[in-house]
Amino acid sequence: MSAIEPVKRRSPNIPVSAGLAMRVAIISAIAMALFSVIFFRLWYLQVLSGEQYVHQANVNRVRDLPIPAPRGQLLDREGKPIVSSRTTNAVQIVPSALPPAGAPRRALYRKLGRLLGLSAAQIQAIVVRERSAVPYAPVTIKTDAGPGVLTVLGERQDEYPGVVQQPVSIRSYPFGQMAAQVIGHVDQVSEPELKMRAFRGVKAGTIVGQEGLEYYYDRYLRGKPGVRRVEVNAEGLPIPARLAPTAPSAGRSVKLSLDLALQKEAEKALLEGEERARASGKPAPAGAFVAMDPRNGQVLAIGSQPSFDPNKFAKPLTPSEYKRLIGTGSAAGPLTNRAVNGAYPTGSTFKPITAMAALEGGVITPGEGLGAGACIHVGAQEFCNAGHADFGAVGLVQALKVSSDTYFFEVGERANAAGSVIQRKARELGIGRPTGIDLPSEFAGVLPDKRWRERENKLELACERRRHVANCGIVLEPTGVWTVGNNMHLAVGQGELLTDPLQMAVAYSTLANALSGGGTGAVVTPHLGMEIDESTGAELQSLSYPAARHVHLNYSDLSLVMEGIHQAASQPGGTSAEVWAGWNQAAHPVYGKTGTAQHTGREDQSWYLCYIGDPKRPIVLAVTVEEGGFGAETAAPIARLMASRWFGVKGKFVAGSSKTF
């Protein structure tokens, strides 16, 4: 009994030495401490900072792929689509499903290239470019692949790993070259564009308008892309998703003031005019037209030749194609919208403006006979009528009717003595300043005067100093000064004057408005956009382009000027009277002026400007054909064809024989 006692009294059962107990206790304490550290760390990570890590995990996890929004349509004034989108089959590459980089992938590219008519390098380039723009999204290699290609791809899917067919929506321009510069085109938003204000909020890879109306109204047209949220793994490969997509909202449609029938007719007439000019030995490489409702500035038709097919921009352009579109040297290419960006002297179509200015400025009186003889002389310089015609000393109306240059040279000479009389009035009427049309770019114009010349001289000298060249090309003789000769040339729409058909149309509209307004007329803001429609067609918002300002002209003076250009278009001997032969002047009086702008070393530029009165559908037409000969010969007949369509009468190309500038 006694031998067992100590064992029993000793703590329970184990023969543990005190040293071992202490060491085990130390180990246990260390274990407890480490466990505590881990628990606190876990608590810190999961409970205290959990939110932040959830966010980081989600950033890892989800990639947003845009679902392109259907782009809005451009409609003509009656709602007929001019530009829309169509669905087509695209051959796409899903990068994550491609064979491994290197030989197998190159072989696939070569094989696919043979099928699509592309080189392996081209396919590679497209894939690299698109992947950097929109990672994770399938890359479109070719749209509108023929049915043969699609059949091959469909039947031999296993031979083309990573290549799929997918219906995609692409921009379609059914009328091809018609008004191409005005409509513009679309393309993927570029890196610099993403930084621009106009494209704020646009995601990389979105298709946006690049030129013309597509650009100007892009924020309405582009809609809002939807988002497909794709869950990806660590390598960025998509995995089957459980995330609901956000549907895109379609772009709005923009209803334009363009009249499709008139536009088509005008394009055709311009081509016909150019054709005829060429037949008579003129190069006639280019031209432009504007048709506008003078009352409100709605552009009914606008175009520029040569043109291009915007559908071409659906595919990448080769450098040589692009160069051809841009134009080489001084000759602007098809991309240039000559109606708003042409920089032209106008020839005699400027004379009504000169006349109005001189009358308002008190430089001449209407009845005064001026411009006797074939030429007038100022200093050593000689200023002559075209073909040295002698109209005798004529009054204002007659001078406009026959387009007497000597008359207007004298007006220019007198006006110069009185300061910038012509320039001020021309500016007021709309020349030499931006019109405010709803297009991304327009030419501001040059309305030369003394101050302008001094400024140009200064710019030229500064440029020569800066660039250390003999001449920058701004002014040939920077030491020269403004002379009376410069003003005399301006008076007949020549010299340093530079404007475009649109500004001229605005100026004639102003005269027309003042005529019907008893002397007060609106200087309209020309525009193409009329209203923004929902994609369903319901009107959402009408666009308002109020008149830029109003002019107050002396009504009796204005009546005489208008009488002059009405006679020019209707009375025997008028410069464009032959062109309008058989036209119902009673119903639709034509107030028209021919113009022939002279260019050194080139054929003359044919111009015609007219206002055709009508209580319901008045119209202002501006037509020009570069190197097209005399105004009456080429431009005026084109205007008549347009007018015929507008008023629903049978059109006929009647070339006039007037050989005046």
Partner: protein, 397 residues
């Protein structure tokens, strides 16, 4: 009644009803089974990258087989008298060295390091099994020198006996297992009662050699460790300095665990199931637990490890002889080191050393090694209870 202080064994009173008469420690068994279940569940839920082409069921089903095999081995080992193993200490030690060297010679390289020998159905990672072999051999060595435990000679012999296989293992390179070997050796010395001075000297030596290997030698152009190992070891100290490389794994692991919050992300777990955390089925399985099951799940797993380790320490204390105590100490050291280093690595407070999480990490060698170690604990437990019963003591759990 004559004085008879010791009752014969056959007359021993029946154990009290609260103590279940099982041939193993039920709490230890519970911890092992529960951890195995946690592993299979986590693996089956997809602690791997589906894009890698391996379905989660591949890992979970194979892990189930490993666990079952391990369980059988554990139960078998628990029937064996661990004391017999002392006789084969030399054979065990030779087996340890031969298998490790064989791996260097015959092994196939997995992820750039030679750690395993491929057999038809499985690949055998010698360094894992080596942990158990080393525990047995070192324990036997210490017991043989039981009378000179405080001698410097003993300390040096034990350290060298561990250092030789550790160096070979580190050369594979498997730094994690090498460190485990050294930790086991230190733990045995500590429990066996080595003098404090020796222990302090050892600690100083570790500090100096650590500094030398990580800082001084690379600066002098000598690379004891491979550069990636040094970077992994030190990356956790500055996690954001290079998030794309060494810090990446740990950063993503922290995101995974942190995003689990209190109750886990369940099916939304993407960090560990979409490959953001590499090796989320093996070394980083704790990240998968933390993300999928949150603080609750991770805490449960940690508690189970707490139970496992506390039982190991308990077996250490109750063992009937020094050999048993030392084996239990070695197993406890192995488990503690692996759990703390592995979990610490996933939560960003320990370097990445390639240490598996016992029973949780996918892999046959690791699972079976751990099961064998637990089998030894069971054997020690069973024999301790039997002895205590023989002596008339009622052992507590």
């Amino acid at each position: 009644m004559p004085l008879s202080p010791i009752r014969p064994a056959e007359e021993a009173p029946p154990p009290p009803p609260r103590a279940l008469s099982l041939p193993f420690d039920p709490l230890l068994m519970l911890a092992v089974l529960a951890l195995g279940a946690c592993s299979v569940i986590t693996l089956g839920a997809g602690a791997s990258d589906p894009a890698s082409g391996t379905p989660p069921s591949y890992y979970s089903s194979r892990q189930t087989v490993y666990l079952a095999v391990g369980l059988v081995l554990m139960l078998g080992l628990s029937r064996l008298d661990y004391g017999l193993l002392r006789r084969y200490k030399n054979a065990l030690y030779v087996a340890l060295l031969v298998s490790i060297v064989a791996v260097l010679g015959l092994g196939h390289a997995a992820r750039g390091s030679q750690r395993a020998i491929n057999f038809p159905l499985f690949s055998f990672q010698a360094s894992e099994l080596g942990k158990v072999l080393l525990i047995l051999a070192l324990s036997a060595l210490v017991v043989d020198r039981a009378r000179q435990l405080r001698d410097r000679d003993t300390t040096i012999r034990v350290i060298i006996a561990a250092l030789v296989p550790a160096i070979f293992v580190i050369a594979q390179p498997d730094l994690g297992s090498g460190l485990v070997y050294m930790v086991i050796a230190c733990m045995l010395l500590f429990i066996a009662g080595a003098s404090w001075r020796h222990l302090a000297a050892l600690a100083a030596l570790v500090a100096v050699s650590g500094a030398f290997v990580l800082v001084a030698a690379p600066a002098a152009g000598i690379h004891v460790l491979k550069p990636y190992q040094v970077q992994r070891l030190t990356a956790f100290l500055h996690p954001s300095s290079n998030p794309q490389k060494e810090g990446y794994q740990q950063q993503e692991s922290k995101i995974a665990i942190g995003s689990g919050q209190k109750t886990g992300r369940g099916l939304n777990s993407n960090q560990t199931s979409n490959g953001f955390v590499p090796e989320s089925h093996t070394d980083f399985i704790f990240a998968a637990v933390g993300e999928r099951y949150g603080f609750v799940g991770a805490g449960l797993v940690l508690l189970l490890y707490g139970l496992l380790i506390s039982r190991a320490l308990r077996v250490l204390v109750m063992a009937k002889d020094l050999f048993g105590s030392l084996i239990a100490a070695g197993v406890a050291a192995m488990l503690m080191f692996q759990v703390f280093v592995n979990v610490g690595m996933t939560i960003g407070i320990m370097p990445i050393t390639g240490v598996t999480l016992p029973l949780m990490s996918y892999g046959g060698s690791s699972v079976i090694t751990t099961m064998l170690a637990v089998g030894l604990l069971q054997s020690i437990y069973v024999r301790a209870r039997a002895t205590a019963a023989l002596k008339g003591r009622v052992p507590r759990f």
